[in-house]
Symmetry: C2
Subunit: 377 residues, 2 copies
């Protein structure tokens, strides 16, 4: 089996599995308990919290909280300001639904962030759009569909230069651990991440806030410095720390490997007549590659590929129920008639060059089979 859907969820890293297994067995106390077992876990969480702050070079004042998913983190960021219908917010329809859906329900005046024809955010146009009426800027570090990698730190700095009052949130889910970032500029107000996108377990995620959040998330026993009540799942927390540390330690090696896999895939099809790559390699994270297969529905390709034990995606998992026009694709400037022809491959540390070569050959064979079946090729 070849799993090329790592942007939807990474298999748990071997070292994380070790840490998680031990902690599930040993660290069963409730960290709010008054005895030593509880207090020890409480103190360990505070050390882990600091570790997460260090990982992004967060200056004094930044807070880090554990949540149950990046969706929760993104929702929480949006709840920080009570946006009214007079407030102008800049966002992308290409953002994850956990950003777009609550923003679209917020009643605020939404303006879509302009993009170049190549899918990248148009920084100059965006900058010109920011006025004193602009109350929020929501940007995605690495687009989960296309892989577009944006310089979110620069975007945040420019936004704050134009309007120091603007709230800047970064969806860091597909970038955290895989790319380097620093919050030292103090320009990013909140930044979300998820454990299961970097080889940690599902059910744990996090968010950075530049200052104490104004609205707390869950009410009750006062956990997470009073901001998110509920028994913190210590084993998941320590497992996410291991995943983040492992990724940090191996970032450059991984980057090089992903580039190799990505390039191998692109090269194989570089002269193909029906497969094309709508976005440039140098604009994207090497962890994700998007392709368009002209004339063949991605649903059919996915079905054929999975019969060959190759698993990839047509769209982000959270948007997999969308049929027809896809707002993310539209925003990324993919012509509407091609939306049903998009495939996304996303690589993880467990994938080898051999996996990619095998997948390329299988995809080729699958396309020939489909072509024979439909007499179209």
């Amino acid at each position: 089996m070849i799993y090329l859907d790592n942007a939807a969820s990474w298999p748990i890293l071997p070292s994380v599995m070790g840490v998680l297994g031990r902690s599930l067995a040993d660290d069963y106390a409730n960290l709010s308990a008054a005895h030593r077992l509880g207090k020890d876990l409480f103190e360990r969480v505070e050390v882990i919290r600091q570790d997460f702050l260090n990982l992004v070079d967060a200056p004094q004042g930044y807070q880090f909280y554990f949540t149950s998913s990046a969706t929760e983190s993104n929702n929480w960021a949006i709840w920080q300001r009570a946006f009214t219908s007079c407030d102008e917010i800049l966002y992308s329809r290409a953002d994850h639904p956990s950003i777009t859906v609550p923003l679209e329900k917020s009643g605020a005046k939404l303006r879509n962030i302009p993009r170049h024809m190549d899918g990248r955010i148009d920084q100059n146009q965006l900058s010109d759009m920011i006025t004193t009426d602009t109350k929020g800027l929501f940007v995605t570090w690495v687009n989960g569909q296309s892989g577009h990698l944006e310089d979110v730190a620069a975007l945040a700095r420019e936004a704050k230069r134009r309007n120091p009052e603007i709230y800047v949130h970064v969806d860091g889910v597909q970038g955290f651990g895989k790319h380097a970032i620093s919050l030292r500029d103090d320009a990013i107000d909140s930044f979300s991440l998820s454990s299961h996108k970097i080889g940690g377990p599902k059910g744990i995620a996090g968010i950075y806030f530049r200052t104490m959040p104004s609205k707390l998330l869950l009410h009750g026993g006062g956990q997470e410095h009073g901001m998110r009540a509920g028994t913190p799942p210590f084993p998941l927390i320590v497992a996410m720390q291991e995943a983040a540390q492992w990724m940090n330690l191996h970032r450059e090696t991984l980057w090089a490997k992903m580039q190799q896999l990505n390039q191998a895939f692109r090269s194989f099809f570089s002269t193909d007549k029906i497969i094309s790559f709508p976005f440039l390699e140098e604009h994207c994270s090497p962890y994700i590659v998007m392709l368009v297969v002209r004339g063949v529905s991605s649903d059919i390709i996915l079905r054929h590929l999975e019969m060959e034990q190759v698993f990839c995606a047509s769209t982000a998992a959270c948007s997999s129920k969308i049929k027809g026009t896809n707002p993310t694709f539209l925003d990324l400037r993919i012509p509407e008639d091609l939306h049903k022809n998009v495939l996304r491959l996303s690589f993880g540390q467990q994938n080898s060059l051999e996996d990619v070569k095998t997948s390329c050959n299988l995809l080729n064979r699958v396309l020939q089979t489909i072509s024979l079946l439909t007499h179209k090729r």
Copy 2:
């Protein structure tokens, strides 16, 4: 080491650890993914969801949702109705903070549920308090501090008889799996439970709703039937199912064992001069026993016990930061001057009669040591 703080968090059951470990390794796909790996997990979650509905005998119409903690479940139940300052709500100050804190912030007119001198809810008085103005009733099935076990199904039926429009929520956290319940009466509007109180992992919990909830919890990719967005943590879900099934299968054996442990503890100190049991065994779940140690601060006892490797609690973990007067104890009719003298022992499946006997002897020795140190006994 003897761990007698199972009401704060149970160690993970051996069979659950097996299921969880396998699932963490194998079930890494995102259940929202369009390929077979995702679809299989999606379908398995729907089967597990139905299993949870069956476990409480839920009639047609009931929904079950996975959440990240019982705090989240309890908060979600409270958000179902937009309570105003005109609305009267019945609750107990002895409830868990994830009920009391958001209710106290809701602005509604709160009335405390009356109790007998023995700490039980006074069903007749409660019934008389319910009028057409009463918009909500929040009751706890098993009090996490005293172990009081209430007939919540009967309370809900009576409430609905008095006012069919009343919203009835049951905090089922300390009862679920350990005691039998049926929702077949259709009188309970919502019911919360937690995995880590029954030998499942932390980070997963659930809630039953009688009808579709009116307010959704998290916005985004439409998971959990559109009610709680975010990638569902499949391994945690299947582990919680195993815990619930195991508890269901062994309920009577466990009940008998807990009664044995509970009685052994109570008997040992039945004629003790400074230890007393404020609540009757027959009113309480056998999983929890509360005691008062006259004249000795529970903090000091806990510290001495933990030096002997025995771990128990003075108050619920989520209230462990409360000093002085404890609203739960007050509500349970424990005189204020004894609040600092309360201990709570809570038993789990891993505890043996030997554990209890050893703990009794150690507690006795600890009290003698403290008495020698303070020349008081």
